[in-house]
Point group: C2
Chain length 204, copies 2
């Protein structure tokens, strides 16, 4: 909430506005629901500000389409047609990333993840987007499919004004250390605990 | 994720589909960021399913407009124009609720909150919406502006297929007890900790 008062005001020679407008590295982690949902909720705010948004879904099957993709792509079309909001690109792993269009082998997820990160890295250097959502990106980091030190260094030294959100369980301490904003979504209770599976409109 | 396996399968005579499609009472609580953002992210999924959505923002000033409101109202307009998605109504407290249009006295927040809850209660009885977002509704409960037992009983006994999300810190144990899905968003790190205030596109 914008009415919030900072706990400390650093004596760093910056104005409040300068500090306020620094680009953020955000992490949504924990074993609870809401990590990706909150990231896509943030994308609505960003769209409304006219920001250029890039979504990169690691891990999720390409066959799987969540409601947020449909909505954000609809908003992207609206931007093209009317100039409202900002542009949105949505890329997902699975049978190949949408920018590469190679026919998927379904086999080498590790290579797919590495290719995905290489592209994100190129875009960060080129300052291509204003908001990056690296959805479920903690898993390729955990599994050694991408180099965590490379990720942390690239994100820490990113040029210009680029906001990044990384989602997924068990965020690496190095990523948490480098982040400006970290929220842990903790599971308290879920319908699956009592034998109820996910449902349309709620889980996707 | 829909691939998830329930921990237990209850022997309650219901099919998986019946259990799956039970309406949910959800709570996003905790001291971290993402409670409301995840609720509005959920609204994108619901819109995509064509659900009727009612958002009720308790506490927030009516002068304050977050990006999600602009986006969801834009999606509501799209629904009216093209039939895509579902309808969305967005109501907020402050200088009067949008359905009542009374001129605000700015004075009696307790009465405003009670009036808001009375309207939500009427709508629940009438099965008016498929998804209710009661944003920051834990505060009027805490402050005794609405009767927590009445809220819990009304939400527990709500008829038909109506999903409800309640957001806010310090959710009452009775509400948590009645809920199907509870996530606690825990604050790990926030720019305000180091003297950086909220910014456009991130906090609103």
């Amino acid at each position: 909430m914008p009415q919030g008062k900072p706990l400390v005001v650093p004596d760093d020679g910056s104005t409040t506005r300068q500090r306020r407008n620094q680009p953020l590295l955000m992490v949504h982690t924990g074993n609870g629901k809401g990590k990706s949902t909150a990231a896509f909720g943030l994308a609505m705010r960003a769209w409304n500000q006219g920001w250029d948004i890039g979504v990169f879904q690691f891990v999720k099957s390409a066959k799987w389409r969540i409601g947020e993709q449909t909505v954000l792509e609809r908003l992207a079309l609206l931007h093209e047609q009317t100039g409202e909001g900002g542009p949105v690109e949505w890329h997902k792993m699975g049978s190949g990333w949408s920018w590469s269009r190679k026919s998927g082998t379904e086999a080498d997820h590790a290579a797919d993840a590495a290719e995905g990160w290489a592209e994100v890295k190129r875009r960060i250097q080129a300052e291509r987007h204003q908001l990056y959502i690296l959805d479920e990106f903690t898993y390729p980091m955990q599994w050694g499919w991408v180099d965590t030190d490379d990720v942390v260094e690239t994100l820490t030294r990113r040029p210009g004004r680029q906001h990044v959100v990384v989602t997924g369980r068990r965020a690496d301490p190095r990523l948490v250390g480098a982040a400006d904003l970290v929220t842990e979504m903790q599971h308290v209770k879920h319908p699956m605990d009592v034998g109820r599976k996910g449902q349309r409109g709620i889980e996707w």
